[in-house]
């Protein structure tokens, strides 16, 4: 996870963050649940919210950034409505997971870790999702799709009703 990048959405209203902070005010242990709450609200943690979160809990902004950048589950830039995770575990790899990833990249026109310009899709990879019998696998939001092939990829990513 790279260091927090510049905030792309400076017009976001950060008012609701203060309400979330109130639950944990001056309690340092509350940092992780608070970050999850903030991410739950915005879909990511707006970097501009970091100083507010820090002063609300009695921490330094740099410390909050340190925690955010440590955990893979926190994001500091907006993500797509749909998160596509392609598995690159061993079983998927031997059954062509790499190609599946390439296909998804081509289909969406983005690289790993990126989000499409229309904020529809974010592409990520995972190390293993535990259903190696169905390899190669892919997860879209909370639904798992096994035995992927090029046709299936195209069909799944072109569905408009998601």
């Amino acid at each position: 996870m790279p260091v927090v990048e510049a905030d792309v959405s400076s017009e976001i209203d950060l008012g609701p963050v203060d309400q979330l902070i109130d639950k944990y005010r001056q309690q340092r242990w509350g940092l992780l649940p608070l970050l999850q709450d903030v991410q739950g609200l915005y879909g990511y943690i707006p970097p501009r919210a970091i100083p507010r979160i820090a002063s609300g809990l009695g921490l330094f902004p740099s410390q909050v950034q340190g925690v955010i950048s440590f955990y893979a589950l926190f994001y500091t830039s907006p993500r797509g409505k749909n998160v596509v995770r392609v598995c690159r575990g061993t079983a998927c790899h031997v059954r062509g997971g790499k190609t599946i990833l390439k296909l998804v990249k081509n289909e969406l026109g983005i690289e790993e870790g990126e989000t499409t310009a229309d904020f529809e899709y974010t592409l990520e990879t995972v190390a293993c999702i535990g259903i190696c019998a169905l390899a190669p696998n892919m997860v879209i939001n909370n639904t798992t799709y096994g035995q992927m092939n090029p046709r299936k990829v195209a069909r799944l990513l072109n569905r408009k009703d998601r």
Binding site: M1, P2, V3, V4, G58, P61, S62, Q63, S69
Partner: protein, 896 residues
Amino acid sequence: MEAITITLNGVEVSGYPGMTILDLARESGVEIPTLCHDPHLAPSGACRLCLVEEEHSTGLLPSCITTLRPGMVVHTHSPRVKEHRKTIIQLMLASHPDTCMVCDKGNHCELRALASEMGIGLVGFKKIPQLAMIEEVNPFLQRDLSKCILCARCIRADQELVVEGAIDYAGRGFTSKPATLNNVPMEKSECTFCGTCVALCPTGALMEREKPFHGTSASTVDTICPFCGCGCGIRLEVKDNRIVCVRPDMSSPVNKGALCIKGSYGYDFVHSPDRLTTPLFKVNGSFQKISWEQAIDRIASELKRIKAEHGTDSLAVFGSSRCTNEENYLLQRFARIALGTNNIDNGSRMHSSSSRVGLGWAIGSCVTTGSLDELEQSEVIVVIGANPVVSAPAVGYALKRAVRFKGARLLLIDPRQTGLSHFAHLWLRPRIGTDVALLNGIARVIIDERLFDEEFVSRKTENFAELARSLKTYTAERVTKLTGVPGQDVQLAARLFARAERASIVYGNGVTQQVTGTDAVMAMANLAMLTGKIGNRGNGIFALQRESNAQGACDMGSLPDFLPGYQCLDDAKARKTFEERWGNHLPDNAGLTAWEMIGQAEAGNIKGMFIVEENPVSGFPSPELVRKALSSLQFLVVADMFLTETAKLATLVLPASSFAEKEGSFTNFEGRVQSVCKAIEPLGDSLPEWEIIRRLSSQMGYPVPYSSPQQIKEEIEEIAPLYQRMEYADLEADERGPASLRTNHSRGKRLYGGPFPSGFERFSAVEFVPPDESEDGYPLTLLSGSVLLHAGDGTISSQSWRLRKQSPHAWVEINETDAKDLGFNDGDAVRMVSPAGSVSTIIRVASTLPPRTLFMPVSFQDCPVNGLFDVALDPRSKSPSLKRCSVRLERIDAGG
């Protein structure tokens, strides 16, 4: 507490519970290598070099974070341990650039030292290439994270010592590095360039930039920082009679391993090309070099002539809050004996004499009553009229540490938002100049709610009834009306302060430079006495000092109304002691204070003046009046390091040596007397002031029997109360035991004079005097104050070119709303006009100020804020008001 015994390398040793293996090993003389450990920082166990083998544990234990358990059998240098350590160093070297040849860290590099100690030559691992990533453009420090070994000393120094929080780790695994918020360069982050991280970095990852001189130091000298009244210990690294580097003195009880930007990087003033190196004599309006003999001869004959023609009281001496105790002692002896006048004063008159007078009156001690360590132990700390984060950084650090790590609650009383506001539990923003009303309001709540310490009040104080009577009028409604602080907050503040077990009050120039400064100091003393929060551990009143030896200059009797050790001029016994010692008669009448000297000079009653390292033209109100007065003197001698605005008016200017070129002692704001040690020879023909005064005194026919500052010190310790060896009350010594006493004997002891000999402290009824209403046509109120990059009136800090480069010009801060109303933008050129004068500067829009209020730093020579102030003296301390005045802003158009 039961001792724990362990076996360390086959020898039984004992430590106390909670002690780590590393601490015990070091105490027992066993050296365990470390890279991330520092006694001032919380142990983190990051570098793993301190691993030791313990027979009952299977794995190796990091000794810096493993506490003692009974029966441990520890091997610190077994083959297994040594192999591990070697591998760790090799791994570090594998990802470290091979730039040792050209790395400026040189022999200070701890990584290189350990590698060579362990006999590591070529690293057997494949190297991970690291590209240098130097990015900073500030003149103070640079980061090259390719040399970072992730010990986190910088991060811990930043968060635990300085409590700034500019950096922390970001990322995970291989990408993990110390980073600022949003990974911006240091100069765009919260970093204050205190240099503490640079001093602690074990490798060349953090380095000082743009040093005046390069090279490895040949020797080091521990001395005291000359910038503010904190008295931080610094270590000068010297090569070829030049200071090449300044580091914090790690053993100093004041700064505890930290420094500020001035202490770390401001030292280049010592080698400023503008330093005076020969005596200068003014002939037809221009200065010409003369020899010391001619200069001393000339001064002596002129002073003798004036003394003979106009009497002794036509001479005056303005001595120095920047000179050592020994020099001040000698200077007042010179004034009183050789010149025969009590017309002697020092620069602290401009910023802290109301503190001296107020505290002296109330508690009988002109000194801060506790040490910084004790301040850090307070539960509640009131900070009023002070921004120690910039004006006394070591105190600022201690306050922030107390709040962040020791659970102290900060009660901040300041109209302006400062670096402490974020740390405040309760922040009151009274109207400017209404401190006395607010303090009285708090005192009344304490009495009304019977929160005061009845036992302390009845046993240790007098005058309580009068105080209680005088507070009757300070009802909640009236206080709110006067100060603008809600009654509820006043009540909260009173309860917070009175109910705390241990509480302290810290104040600074925001109080003492007001016309009602002495009153406010007394009102604060009232609060402390009411609640019994004075004179014991964790309680006390802390008066910040602006100059390095403002406290010492007063202690030494560079005052018109006191002999050394604050002995009254009319005290027959004290007079006798000094007269016998000095072999001459002392003048009886009280002398003139600094401002009175200027007045009398203008009136023609003072004919000759000797000014030592003070700069009244830049520090006093009405500089034009000061200039006129000093120009009208028949004879003015100035001894200084630089040709200051004041020195330019002199007939004769003597080149003085800097702090690094002399021996002596400074007394810091806590009353700690600390040794100033000579690191380099005086530059050019400059001389330390004590030598100048000694020569002058001999030439005047009053030779003094000292040939070194040490001899002067011995005399001080013999006859000046407070400084007498037997009266030293070293409060920390009790706690830290005789070991620290032994090693710390030169580190300075604290003086504590009070309370009165009678044992009683004195309440005083102080009435609120409303500040002058703003005059027609001057709708805004200007607050003056300190900034981090400069010290005091800027005479010294403006000579440090790195500080000047980073902060070259003054500015005026204005509230966002006012800026919009008046149509000003950031960077607009404006003229600020007060009834007394005007200055030109630029606008900086800030959200830190209350409405209709401006802030301007005092330390810029090209923008003399003091010129805006009219002369208004505090009636008790005779110090002029230099804090607030009414002004208006005028736009300067680009065309002119």
